[in-house]
Symmetry: C2
Amino acid sequence: MTAIKTTVRIKRAPAERRAQFLDCAQALFFTRGYDAATVNDIIERAGLSKGAFYHYFDSKEALLDALTERVAAQIVADAEAVLEDPALDALSRLNAFLEQGRQWKIERAPALKSAYTAVLRADNVMLNQRLIDATARVVLPVLTDIVREGVREGLFHPPSPEMVAEILLQMSHARMSVAVEAMARAAAGDLDGAVALLESRLADESAVVERLLGVAPGSVRLVEPGFLRAMLAALS
Amino acid sequence: MTAIKTTVRIKRAPAERRAQFLDCAQALFFTRGYDAATVNDIIERAGLSKGAFYHYFDSKEALLDALTERVAAQIVADAEAVLEDPALDALSRLNAFLEQGRQWKIERAPALKSAYTAVLRADNVMLNQRLIDATARVVLPVLTDIVREGVREGLFHPPSPEMVAEILLQMSHARMSVAVEAMARAAAGDLDGAVALLESRLADESAVVERLLGVAPGSVRLVEPGFLRAMLAALS
DNA sequence: CCCTAGTAGACCGACGGTCGGTCTGCTATC
DNA sequence: GATAGCAGACCGACCGTCGGTCTACTAGGG
């Protein structure tokens, strides 16, 4: 009846296929957004079928979970060296961890702008929330440990280590919208304004963290001289 | 062919109809969730038609916006007396504002439990985010003003008034999940554990705020003796 | 040692059901 | 009779399902 279409079939290692779907989904989710990117879009980009998709993932949402999980796992993997180094005291470890984050941003600078704006779009809350949750699950324990370590070492004097770690993380999430605003300004030609905006935000954050940890001003390095300008210039 | 059904038509003031939709949607969104509650569910509950729905709202999302806007507006309206009272200094105003929040919770205690759990469900991120955004838009300026006022009065010494206000708000949002956990414990019979959990959380938050504002411990009243126990007992 | 029947599971794509949204036209009111 | 308010049949897009196909591998007979 219906003509049987014989398509070329290439078989690959399952893990590879999964990754292939995840890669395509990531690209689409971070540009069009989670809702706007349909399963058909994903399979088209992957050059695979509906059947293949649902062979590897129970649902579109399950794919999102797998994706955010992968991102979160990458973060701790990158930071492992810093987190395990026994030579560091708590403050150095915290600063090294923050530096790691800056490094991470430099490496993926090209993708960052579209990712940030995509994630913050009103119709893309799902992706944003899942990313926040997934990263929080892995980063929050790490931060809490560092703060507790600092307390043991007598370096930090926070009212509550857990709350301070939580606030540190929340501030970095809230910072995204400021970063988007800054990138917009930079794109509009106002590089100085953009730098100033983010710099003052980060200065405020630093002051808050230092106050909470009970350390001297300037101890916590949220911002590195020149970093913001280089970053914002590269992104516009 | 199909028999024409003549339904009784009741004419009402447009604002009233709008409110009717909003009421029904609110009830459904806070129980089933935003995605799960379909437009058909809403119009069925309201006893009205698709045509009526799309006569008053451009889309389902527009309805959500209107709903969150209404909630946010209610919050400032309730708090206006406290916010305008010129007799209060900044610390008293802050405490009065927090007390107002507690009062608000007592009044709507019956709906709170289901609302909290519904809002925090993974598949209900949209509702949660819109509520947070809408309330932030109205509450953040208010909090920032109070903190700035305290600085002028020489009562507060924050590293950054804006950041402190932001943190205050974020903590209260993050608190929701702790509250849900506490309500679960209370429902499981462990009222003491539930009270202890929330009490320690609020103590930590108070300590953080006091440290940030540079005021004496005990100055900020996030928790009132007996309030938590009464609340949790009523909810389980 | 090769050849082949048998099997697991990777992969296909038409189809179903649901849901947000549109459109035509009726109806009560002025 | 004109018009705003409203009814509900209808549309298209989407997610997820399902019967089935095709490839790679394995086991056992020649």
